[in-house]
Amino acid sequence: MSEHAITRRSFLAGSAGAVGLAATAGYMGFGAWEQAHAAGGWRREVTTAHSLCNSCSSKCGFTGYVEDGRLTKMIGDVDHPYCEGTLCARGYGYASIAYSEDRLTDPLKKNDKGEFEAISWDQAYSEIAEKVKAIISSNGPEALAMVQDPRPSGSYYTKRFMQALGSANVYTHGAACNLSKNSGFTQAIGAGDYASDVANSKMTMFIGRSYADAIRPSSVHDLQRARENGAYIVLVDPRCNNTITLADEWVPINPGTDLALVLAMSNVLIKNGLYDKDFVAENGIGFDEWAAAIADHTPQWAEGITGIPASTIERLAVRFAECAPAASIEPSWRGAFGCSYANSGETARAICLFNTLLGCWNQKGGALFLPSVSAGEVDAEKFPAVPKPEGKILGSEEYPLALSSMGVNVILADKAREGAVKGLFFYNSNMAAGYANPDYLAESFSNLDLMVAIDVQMSETCMLADYVLPDTSYLERLELPEFVGGKVPAVTLRDRVIEKVHPNTKPVDEIFSELAEACGVGEYFQFTVDELADAQLRTVGLSLEGLRQAGGTARFPEKEYSYGAAVKWKTPTGKVQFSSEACEKAGLSPVPVWVEPRTKPAGGNQFRVIGGKQAIHTHTQTANIEPLMEITKKYNLERVWMNADRAAQLGIADGDEVEVSNEEHTGRVRVKVTQRINPEALYVPSHYGCTSPDQHTAYNIGLRQMDFVPFSIEPGYGGACTQEAIVTVKKAGA
């Protein structure tokens, strides 16, 4: 923790003189007395530390100010590439998790009555280890699996722990986030992601992503720069999201039909010869096949599917061509095609091909492959390499296109039902409430011999577990360095800001190191997180202390990106794959063509459920944060959104309570009647419907989107199909 003594001059102190003037009634009020004393020179020692926010995956850098051991102010670090000096509401609010009354404070074990009892760490470790050993001896290490939402230390320690046990089954939350998108991109361009050069673009189209709701501050800044530069910004989204303030046009597409729009815009470019023919000829493979396959995917055809007038589709495509190569479709994240529909992976593939038609790869204002840096080899004696497990990650056979770095976590439900998986660990993951149908998951996990959840509060996943281990909050620990790709790549540090609030909690590095010891594989964990962090940083010419002194962020200017570099496509063919052999093998069309979503609302009182972030929440993890949930309560943000015309037809008024129902679930909530949503869609904010009574702030507020989503998995890609859900809506009591 770097320490700076700062004289704290309270706000009131500066005004004390003015108070004196105002206090002419002849006495000095307590406030004035207190202010006068403040002016008299309270001098408090303030310490500061640089850390990384944990309220979403962006992990923005900030300086935490600590007075008398307690976190006070948070200032976004100007040098951090994602933050650029400003944090979002979630960042400021989520910090209160450290002091939450609902923190998990001791290891818990579920007793025969299904109630949790506090136990010692030693007991927890030895009992868990005993069960792990029993599972390995009867079913092999492949019957163990881990699900985690990646964080700097968590990614490393969870994987190392599982590999030490001999299991390759380490999953991220990806199947319920961006697995289909990244896997689809990989089929087309050999990379799981790219970055749109929004700020320098002449035109950028966002599909399902909202920079103003799923906020990464630097993205918002980029969008503003784009506007100042005169870029044309298009939002394709069934919901007129909050980014509209910074955009030129809202295209209110029917949910689940983005693929048809992208194919039809491609059709326009090809038919009219408006694409970059040289770029396609040089870089592509299978173009003619694709062009022939989508020859009938015209704007007129797409109008019937997407609800977007053919003239609009034509206009947007032509404008793209005029703006190329300083134009692209932005890669999105979870949004509309990260994991939502039966056609999400194919949508991702088509978007890469459309960008290829624009010839915008690595062009200023186009779509970029930005450099990143990673830690090199560390001392093999101190940090011995773990032998790679023999088996492949479960799910890779059934979903061959899914990136193995993420894995198809939802398949674990079926593997647990079949008895192929016996032991499951969760770190920083609320799978049971956020990834797929909660009832289906709960029933599946009840078959396990061992379920362990590590978290800071009693999540719905924790509630299902046999053992719950209390994590420290992100403010209370040092983590491994976090490498951040970008135009100038960087490395950043989550340092300890405050001491442990609850003495019996432990950070993730300690938990897995000690658990490994108990499981008999402790030889791979004979080091501290400080030692490994320092060793990793030394491989890139830095040190732990050096990075602290540098303010928590260091850049690698020698790796700076430059426009125009030829791309080395890391696909099997070394080309942009308009046609993919792997997709064909997986039972899909070799070239991306229209694929229907699995479900479609039939009109009447039927709607498709769509989710999406609000600017104050991330998934289910922030719902129990008081400063954030207070906003939800004050502004009724838990309401579902319904199109005004549809509401009028159904006799539903703004603020009415409605019953939302399908075969999976029935629930009641109030409705926001609005012009801001496509008639087919019912927006159910993704953050609510908490069923854990120990989360006193979040419990029982609003609906949980996933309750309405039938359990299903996207063919080939493995996404959780989180918006393949149809519901009926009626006024409550009607």
Binding site: I6, R8, R9, S10, F11, L12, A13, G14, S15, A18, L21, A22, A23, A25, G29, G31, A32, W33, E34, T63, Y65, T72, K73, I75, T86, L87, C88, A89, R90, Y92, G93, A95, S96, A212, D213, I215, V220, H221, Q224, C240, N242, T243, I244, T245, L246, W250, P252, A615, I616, E626, P627, L628, E630, I631, Y635, A644, D645, Q675, R676, I677
Partner: protein, 180 residues
Amino acid sequence: MARYGMLINTKKCIGCYACRVACQRQNDLLPTEDFIRYEEKETGTYPTVRVETVPLQCMHCEDAPCAAVCPTGAAYIGADGIVQVDHGRCIGCKYCMAACPYQVRVFNEETGTVDKCRFCTVSAETSGTKMCSCVEACLTGARLFGDLDDPESDIAQEIAATNAQPIAGDLTKAKIFYVR
């Protein structure tokens, strides 16, 4: 003496609540103490629709109804024109809350007193924030703070350039100006 004021450009506001939560964190407020509240206005019909978010907070009125009705002098206008609350004198009668046409004063259930935006820039510069917390936190730079009487200040020039106006005209001689 400076005459402090603020400009809020709602054309840049994305309705993200960062200003509210930053204000609470940096000023150590309760989760229920919201010095900034929001009015959201939707105009047009599907699919041609626009959304405006208007953040509201203490306008630091020169003709301040809260100060006029306060029976104890707890609500008063300081020498620098910043409307203040002397918590030692506040008896929690809420007259000021009823009188405020902007409904931006909040009751602190723990202390039993009323509070509101303090234009915190004046004091905060030595402990982290260089500017009002809300101004610093704004992701889109929708807010400006400064001396309304200094013709060279950013805020004075921006008000002149955009013809920014108080939210309710000259009702209370408010010192927050809006671009809408």
